[in-house]
């Protein structure tokens, strides 16, 4: 898995959100930290083509997100901060099955995949429940299940634990840590990134620090003046 950003600029609504980002990501665990409005969410959305660069280009396994968006999104799953916005089907199992709608699998194969995925996330007992009856943490695990059902190679998550209490945040973090997929995690929870291979600190539209957590996190604290 290789993601490459080549001098990427993004201009949104008359504001330069990203100003010249060049990166190559091959590590399995990469965290993105930075202040609100620094551009880190935009950076995350570049990776699956939800945001396209104003200039420069983004390649995922050699596929340009501008021309091959569809193939890129098959490889890159995205988990949002608010699971309520991400769950599109009324019941738990149906939402996971939605990810498999064009997989070419038979009805029975889809059902088996859905059950397996829900079991892995500890949601099997809730398969036929309405999604809105789940707790916030369970909803986020459902969002993750639906993303994983499509079998992506990279999972990008934009502050997936922000809306969760401590216990659920920990549960979701543990699931992310256990993934076999590559992970790019945008977060404000600095204690979560300790075990990561690489941490990018985004500041004012640029990658200000790019290092291991032991170096990048203290540098970020200094940058924020706290």
């Amino acid at each position: 898995m290789r993601v490459a950003l080549d001098d990427v600029h993004v201009r949104l609504g008359g504001r330069d959100v990203l100003r010249g980002v060049t990166l190559e990501i091959t590590e399995r665990r990469v965290a993105v930290i930075g202040a609100n409005g620094s551009g880190k969410s935009t950076l995350a959305r570049l990776l699956n083509g939800l945001v396209l660069p104003t200039s420069g280009r983004v390649l995922v396994d050699g596929l340009d997100t501008r021309r091959r968006g569809r193939d890129v999104r098959r490889r890159v799953g995205f988990v949002f901060a608010d699971p309520d916005a991400q769950i599109v089907m009324p019941t738990v199992a149906e939402d996971v099955a939605y990810s498999l709608r064009r997989s070419g699998l038979s009805k029975r194969q889809v059902a088996a995949r859905v059950v397996a995925e829900l079991e892995r996330q500890g949601l099997a007992d809730h398969a036929d429940h309405p999604a809105h009856l789940l707790s916030g943490g369970q909803k986020q695990l459902l969002a993750l299940s639906s993303v994983l059902a499509a079998d992506p190679r990279l999972v990008v998550a934009d502050e997936p634990t922000t809306l969760l209490d401590l216990r659920h945040a920990r549960a979701v973090t543990e699931r992310f840590a256990a993934l076999e997929q590559h992970v790019v995690l945008v977060t404000h929870a600095l204690d979560l990134v300790a075990g990561f291979d690489r941490v990018l600190v985004v500041d004012d539209g640029r990658v200000a620090v790019d290092d291991v957590p032991e170096v990048a996190v203290p540098a970020y604290r200094r940058l924020m003046g706290c």
Partner: protein, 204 residues
Amino acid sequence: MAALAPPATTGAAVLHRIGAGPKLLGLCACSVALLAVRSPAGIAAAVAGVAALYALAGLGPRALWSQVRPLRWFVPAVAAVAAVQWWLVGPLAAGVLTTRLVVLVALAGLVTLTTATTAVLGALERALGPSRRVGADPERAALVLALAVRTVPVLGALATRVREAQRARGRERDLRAFAVPLVVGALRQADALGEALRARGLDD
């Protein structure tokens, strides 16, 4: 569309196993047939029939009540209609008319309780299949319905949050202080949903 109600006991009873298509067609047929029922005896038979169907589905009186209960919001309207009918055609016919309405809602509720949303959407998609020839997209039409069902509780939660915030600031009676954040919140939710659908490959 089990999502609107407490979790349906899927697959347990006979009615759950009938396909969504036949069930919807059956609902249509029963509704039309009910319109022809005029006699008190006929309507009593219909009430007994619906109660029997609920029992057949393994659903108790409480489930039946939960389906009919939302009608109470329409009680003033129903009462007005009933009063006019009373005056026009007499009390017996007015009673038949009102009971017929309740039976219709109970019947539709029964279909809702015993059918998974995906099954309803699948049936709808098949039914809309021929419209593909005139350029319609049945899959997308079905998705819109699923999103509508899914969005009801999400917007309900949003309304609760807005009302709580309002109460915390002592502005319970201010309609604008309720409507503006609700509409803004709903639009933001719609944006986020659109983004999520794109991320899940809707337009690909």
